[in-house]
Symmetry: C2
Subunit: 323 residues, 2 copies
């Protein structure tokens, strides 16, 4: 029997978003709430509450299942959460807990993988057989789609594209590494440069975005000032675009992809940063592979929900032998 809906769950450090998704990728109902502080069970309970909220009135037989994206390192084959920096979910069997309460099939995956999955199914990478996606936000993550499917590596943890060394003796990275891409491109790095600029007269447009309070300067203040046309803020993001572009050189030489998608909150907001990165990459990538297209992801805030739902449809269909 053909199921009509899947539930996609996007568990973020700040917010949990759940959507009921049709087979064509339309979210017909959603529910979003701030991620609760406290232990793992508060998080799991909220996931379950939100899921029950969106599936009210849907018949069991119409549901393919539930997909859950987690901002951590997932061993996909074991469906276990190995590490989770921003939430207390490491080692918690989220899948079984949600399954036992909702009586639905549940599949969990890394949020970066799922964002790529969503874009491949319904977004900017529709039909692409080989692409990589970088998500630039608080962290820098990503996902790889190779030979028409997500590539997860030997333990399901592949795709940490933000954690490559771009500077041998470079800035410390939140992961504990040194000189990683994320250390130059994540929100913390942008905010730091924003604060630096805002302390001087030239940074007044950035400061204004923070209501004049230097302690309130965030990456978003820099992005907003840049989008409004401020040259200093734009300069900060163009510098980020340069570093991103240099990293893309490596990805293009390694993967020879047709398409690179840049998503995440920062990546989707700052088109000029992405354009700069594409120019830098084009100038230095090895010959023969410069036909690669660099584009912004399009699913925005819904990417997580949609990717998780797409995974859930696929898992259901392969259980039913529909693949």
């Amino acid at each position: 029997m053909r199921t009509n809906y899947a539930v996609g769950v996007d568990v973020g450090g700040t917010r949990i978003a759940v959507g009921l998704v049709e087979r064509k990728g339309r979210i017909i109902k959603d529910a979003r709430r701030l991620t609760p502080k406290g232990g793992p069970f508060a998080v799991v309970d909220m996931i379950i509450d939100l899921v029950e909220e969106v599936i009210t009135g849907v018949h069991q037989s119409e549901l393919a299942g539930i997909g859950i994206g987690i901002p951590g390192q997932i061993d996909f084959s074991r469906q276990s959460i190995e590490f989770c920096t921003n939430l207390p979910l490491a080692g918690v069997d989220v899948r079984s807990l949600v399954m036992s309460r909702t009586k639905q099939e549940v599949t969990i995956d890394n949020d970066g993988n799922l964002a790529a999955f969503g874009e491949a199914r319904w977004g900017a990478a529709k039909g692409a057989r080989d692409f990589i996606m970088l998500t630039v936000g608080t962290g820098v993550g990503g996902g790889m789609f190779l030979n028409g499917e997500p590539y997860r590596g030997s333990r399901g943890m592949a795709g940490e594209l933000g954690h490559i060394v771009v500077e041998l003796e470079g800035r410390m990275c939140p992961c504990g590494g040194k000189g990683h891409l994320e250390a130059y491109l994540g929100r913390a790095a942008i905010a730091e440069k924003g604060v630096e600029a805002a302390a001087m007269f030239k940074g007044r447009a950035i400061l204004a975005q923070a209501g004049g309070k230097i302690d309130d300067v965030t990456a978003e203040c820099v992005i907003k000032a840049a989008v409004a046309g401020d040259a200093v803020a734009r300069g900060i993001l163009l510098d980020c675009g340069y570093v991103l572009g240099r990293a893309l050189v490596g990805f293009v030489n390694i993967f020879n992809p047709k398409l690179i998608l840049i998503g995440g909150g920062v990546g989707e907001a700052a088109d000029f940063m992405v354009e700069r990165a594409a120019e830098v990459m084009q100038a230095e990538a090895m010959a023969g592979r410069r036909d690669v297209k660099v584009a912004q992801a399009v699913l925005g805030n819904d990417a997580g929900i949609l990717g998780a739902a797409a995974l859930s449809f696929d898992e259901h269909d392969s259980r039913e032998g529909m693949h």
Copy 2:
């Protein structure tokens, strides 16, 4: 009918090596000659001569075909040579030329891919489903084996693992890029450091390897002095191992492989360099993926011949529907 032999051809900048290979991976006959200077046809003619030399006495029906590894960028699906830095083969239809003269099926591929293919079939990566291989020699290349097969990317040019940026404003790379891994690890980089050291008293062991002539100091002099126990030469290669290790951090975070193989002339000679790289990687790779094994490739000079033959067997078998 089951064929017993394939011919593997390894076209190098210095030497062309051809072998007749059994299904179990034994080279039962080989022929090697210096790569001729001059135009592309001198090279193609030599390939054909060497192939004919090794297949003398073998019945046509016993041969699966000929595999040829080329040190250049190959569009695998078109079987065309797009770029070739060290040999005049770009745009030359090597496959058709060799086919028409030998009346054998011919398949060409990038030499880095084939080295990985050979190790996967008969070498240090036997049975590994997911591994990456770096070849460290004059250049730094590589190959990826993902989900049990070579990954070639959208145009067949994937795997240039030596051309990632490890230093934003770093050394110029032979490819024209800046701060690439190859610029820190290839023979030219090692030789340069060797010359620097040999100009001073502390570098006397390196200088001795060059017969006392500083102009004759090569990467091999550094490696030989290091293997003989000289601390300065060893230091140069340990520094290379550090840079290699920092690059491996990125590969492990991106690919989550079970195995990383280090091959190539330098990679196979300098075990302490590889050990240092493994230590550096282990200390910095993201948690959960440190079970990766770093090992030296084992097929040595024969890797190219064996990989090319393995490819040829596979192509034959899939033509015959044996896969």
